[in-house]
Symmetry: C2
Amino acid sequence: MNCIIAQSGGPTSVINSSVAGLVEANNDLKIFNNVFAGLNGIEGILDKNIINLSELTKDQLETFKYTPSSGLGSCRYKLKNFTENEEEYTELMNILDELDVKAFFYVGGNDSMDTIAKLSAYAEEKNIDIKFIGIPKTIDNDLMFTDHTPGFGSAAKFIATSTLETYLDSTVYIDNGVFIVETMGRDTGWLAASSALATVDGKPVADLIYLPEVAFDTEKFLQDVARLYKEKKHVYIVASEGLKNEDGDFITSLNSKKAHDKFGHTQLGGVGNYLKDLIIDKEITHRVKVLELSVLQRCSMHIASKTDIDEAAMVGREALNYAKDGNSGYMVAIKRDANMPYKSSTFLVKAKDVANKVKYFPTEWINEEGNFITKEGLKYLRPLIVDEPNLIIENYLPKYRVFSR
Amino acid sequence: MNCIIAQSGGPTSVINSSVAGLVEANNDLKIFNNVFAGLNGIEGILDKNIINLSELTKDQLETFKYTPSSGLGSCRYKLKNFTENEEEYTELMNILDELDVKAFFYVGGNDSMDTIAKLSAYAEEKNIDIKFIGIPKTIDNDLMFTDHTPGFGSAAKFIATSTLETYLDSTVYIDNGVFIVETMGRDTGWLAASSALATVDGKPVADLIYLPEVAFDTEKFLQDVARLYKEKKHVYIVASEGLKNEDGDFITSLNSKKAHDKFGHTQLGGVGNYLKDLIIDKEITHRVKVLELSVLQRCSMHIASKTDIDEAAMVGREALNYAKDGNSGYMVAIKRDANMPYKSSTFLVKAKDVANKVKYFPTEWINEEGNFITKEGLKYLRPLIVDEPNLIIENYLPKYRVFSR
């Protein structure tokens, strides 16, 4: 009796920690004979591109645990409803049957939870004895019900650290102009909000933080920037890539090319440059620098949160236990049991309730002016970035191990 | 009898380590009663914006040592020749005299060494008993005579680490397209070259590395990218911002706005997007992602090189000793005494010999095809990134301290 695991969607720094946590738990508990892995998500399973993670040595597994970015490879494969294309389902179930797989684990975001919901419903309808469990992962922190998602804490820690360091870099002269950091965050402001954790002498270094949850007001923005620039000769701004105007349109959509990925998401980017142009056009200052943190925020394991790594491993481990107990069609969610000292545990939510939904940054954690985070918001964020991992070093750089390249 | 120190030009991660090294040494040796600091470089001294670093506690000094980016503030003030504008010189000398300053230390790149050369020549001609010593700093590693410059090793470590992590991030799918990292490096390729240190399973992760020292050949570039993409479905490219064609013109200069800073440097940026357009126009693939490391490469103390920090402190400490011994008009340079285990010491070079000159990446350390670094080059680079600092942590982020904000 075996199980199989695969990764899907955009990577995070700690997505492999969940896989390693599950494999470690199975090594200890011997629930399944083998933990197989499909390379490149469900596509790899359908292509029979499969490896056996139970054959890894303890050292190999440990290195993998601290390797950022989908080490099993990823995909953006969207499963159709089985009423539309049952062939895919029967093909997959046959492959799982050949491998004597009794549990299927999918590490991903809300698109992956959609896959788990569909597969478990199909298996139930067809009386197939395979359990399907989703393991959450996304730097965006936008999955419903779970207190937060593995991957977010490490991204938040990278963003807060980079905010701190680039603030120091961008304020060395007497007249510094404006510095704009663009974070990821298509629909939600969790990532941008985490920049508020960066302080020097107890004071936040970011002056203005903009989230997609607040309609962007161009006039107010320019007034605030002009006032702060006059006052201090430097303004530090953090903006989420997904800023929207009061009509709900992306503010960059008017003057940039639009494209759509397979799931209908608009491909974004360019909010920083959009804001820069506003400031220059208004003649506040011509010294405006934009930094896009881009993919660095989802793969910088070297400054990951140890709390995040530990929790990623925890949801992997617990996924195994939940499957053993006969659960199927669920996602493993995180419950915050205590904030300080921080403690968390897991519970199950129905994958179909998570799929295709979005958890927004609470508006009560945004200040009245709509341009900063409240103390309550910081209280939520802070425990998620605690401590650093002890990386394995080789040739003076982190040693990483992947299976899909 | 006092001394004064100031910082100039673009910041690095370890520029404060040099200041802290000098202050620590003076605390031990009591050569001067006080180490004063001018805030915002020579501009701050002329404005009498001066603090006393000898009043810092041991803890404050230690925090400052591990704080990235000019903690004393910086400037881009270019001293005229004293035959053109003697007033500036007499004003400065009067201020130094009022403070009973007998030694002046300037932490900077080749523009700052020009300042040291001019001031020491003036003092000598006027029989003014003040010693002028330059302390090198630049992430660009382009100062003559010194084996390398403090600041470079930390930038190299950040670039190598980010190359490793973004390589993992950019290769998770079956078809990944092309990933382009743009590093700083206006005239020289030291920074771009350091990406060659990033390996997985002993193999470099970067496929192609382009330096300004090699004339960029568009046809060869497109052939290499097309071949590698066909072979592997992903290509990882690192390019210096300062790439030039065979006529010596910046390849981005044809289709981007040009601007000049006060020292006549062209303001660059956009090489990554320039290469992206070439690849898309040639229809190799439309999946091309560009990452500009931008200012992160000069302020990421959280992944600094401990070797770099220690050497930055060493040149600060030695600057004090060289001034005590009566030297003036020199820059403290680094000599590599042994490569493995690595050992270095300092020596003096005339500041005027360093000023306004550029040390290029040796062409013998570039492969024949002009798109990668040789083993000899890696042997030079590797010791400079060794070990990590033990940062002081507060609220789960590095604790930093500056004086000029």
